[in-house]
Amino acid sequence: MSKLMANLALYLFIFSISYTASANAASSVFTKSSFEEIKQKNLGKKWLMILWSVDCPPCFKELALIEKLREETPNIAVVIVNVDDNNETARERQQIINSFNLSTLANYYFADGLGDQSRYLIDKSWYGELPRSYFIAENGDFHGKSGLVKEEVIKKWLVPQEK
């Protein structure tokens, strides 16, 4: 009986760990406060924020790059933000995140109809062209780049280089 209980407890333990992980991995709405949280959480290290859309084929290439880099270096500091601000694309958005195995990555989305507001929070000089990548330094300085970024550039920024 105690063996059965022990097995049950183990299964429950594993389930609870994975459930908690998946619950935390769900996409969250991007807001002023969540943006502040993201910045605070990553302060003191180099990190990358990628803005993408379901209507942007080159964005997929950048998501695929992140997928590949995470296979090599699982703990790279990347935050992905979907900019579609459209409830109709929610399912598609999640399917794409899952297809690139990025569901455990911190990921956010612009709320329906608040695309411009959300974009403005990040960068007043960004006009919505995609993909948009922000390289954030240890001191919190943002450096924005529009268009697909080369793998070696991302790697150099996120992966500690051997000296």
């Binding site: 022990a6 429950l12 333990f13 209507d55 084929p57 403005y120 993909p131």
Partner: protein, 412 residues
């Protein structure tokens, strides 16, 4: 495993699961409430539920507006230039997916004999694949033909961003961005960049349904709308974002010469040097006046030119007036549209100040030689669609959809 350890494990399970379950349950409940509310308000397929609206004047002066909700097309007719609209009607064709957001949207046009023509892009089962669809009515919208596919390649690849012009006699001209060439190259293991510009025409009213596909250009940007007008010789002037060199995204112009044998020579219009291996999501606008001057607007973020620009050309784009900057670049000025009307040139665009979305207007009364002061003419609190100018009998109107708020149309 001791009983104590089992209890500890179970306790950890409860501690780990409970907050997540509570949060998830709360989140799901709130999401359900919001979704239910949205669903209820959109059950009647109200125009405010649409992400885009397309408006155009019929040849008899009626104003039509078309929108998409739940894989269905709807239209409304106004007899008083948009002040009031008759009852909403559904385009009576079978349900199918319809691209209707941002740069992609259905198009509507009319002939002089109660003909109503619709075209749109229908997303297919694979990501970034779609077909160009077409349907028409010969009884002013009472009934529509079963939609047909215009692209003739039978390939599961991209065909999208359709633009349509219909003459008084019912000659239908369609252009779109087509990925068949890049699809074939990739199948051969070769590199490909961008899409191609394709064209087809037919006259269903006269029994001509050929819509023979013709390639007009290759290496176009894949995610910006096309603009099209007709010049005084009845030739199509087509304006789109092209890829030059190493991902330099500039606007190109092609006049589809009436001489069928002539070589197609697109002309580069913008020289702002916007290098981006990505999606600008900003197409341009073109309008040809009675003197055959081409008036154009575009948006770029190049290292030689940033923001909205206006220029015109008297020789099909070979030479150009000096590009004039339009709008406030520090206020997110974007998505310009243009329309000539006698000697008036109207340009509209959107701006955003961090709180409200604004619709701006600037007018030239001397055919583009000079422009008056820019004026804000409308605003919105939540997201907005692109603005468009349409005209009727010497008067121009701006059509601006504001999802959740409603469609707005007013004389300029």
């Amino acid at each position: 495993m001791s009983f104590f350890k089992v209890k500890v494990l179970l306790l950890i399970c409860i501690v780990l699961c409970l907050p997540s379950v509570v949060v998830m349950a709360k989140h799901n409940h709130q999401t359900m409430i919001k979704e239910q509310a949205a669903e209820n308000s959109c059950q009647n397929h109200n125009i405010s539920c649409a992400k885009t609206v397309t408006s155009s004047f019929a040849r008899n002066g009626d104003l039509w507006r078309v929108w998409t909700v739940d894989e269905q097309l709807f239209f409304q007719i106004s007899k008083d230039n948009g002040k009031t609209f008759l009852s909403k009607q559904r385009v009576n064709i079978p349900d199918e997916k319809i691209s209707a957001r941002n740069e992609n949207r259905p198009k509507i046009a009319f002939d002089k004999a109660n003909g109503v023509y619709l075209s749109w892009a229908m997303p297919r089962e694979k990501k970034y694949t779609a077909d160009i669809r077409f349907s028409y009515s010969t009884d002013y919208g009472k009934s529509f033909s079963i939609p047909s596919t215009i692209n003739n390649d039978n390939l599961l690849t991209g065909h999208s961003f359709n633009e349509m012009l219909v003459t008084e006699e019912g000659e239908v001209h369609l252009v779109w961005l087509d990925s068949r060439l890049s699809f074939k190259l990739r199948k051969q293991g070769k590199e490909a960049n961008g899409s191609a510009l394709f064209y087809a025409s037919a006259n269903p009213r006269k029994g001509n349904f050929s819509f023979t596909n013709q390639q007009l250009a290759n290496n176009t940007c894949v995610c910006c709308r096309i603009a099209m007008d007709v010049n005084q010789q009845g030739e199509l002037a087509i304006f789109w974002r092209h890829i030059y060199g190493d991902n330099i995204r500039e606007f190109a112009l092609l006049t589809l010469n009436n001489n069928a044998g002539d070589e197609l020579k697109p002309i580069q219009i913008s020289k702002d040097h916007w290098q981006i291996n990505g999606c600008p999501h900003q197409g341009g606008g073109i309008s040809v006046d009675k003197s055959n001057r081409y008036h154009m607007v575009w948006f770029n973020q190049g290292d030689k030119g940033k923001g909205i620009f206006y220029a015109s050309s008297m020789d099909h784009g070979k030479t150009l007036t000096s590009p004039l900057s339009i709008g406030d670049i520090n206020a997110q000025a974007a998505h310009p549209h243009i329309q000539q009307n006698n000697s008036n040139i109207d340009i509209v665009w959107t701006q955003f100040n961090g709180v409200e979305h604004q619709l701006w207007h600037q007018q030239s009364t001397n055919n583009g030689k000079s422009f008056g002061t820019a004026k804000q003419i409308a605003k919105a609190q939540s997201g907005t669609d692109r603005p468009f100018i349409i005209k009727r009998d010497g008067k121009s109107y701006v059509s601006w959809h504001r999802p959740k708020q409603g469609h707005w149309i007013d004389a300029l």
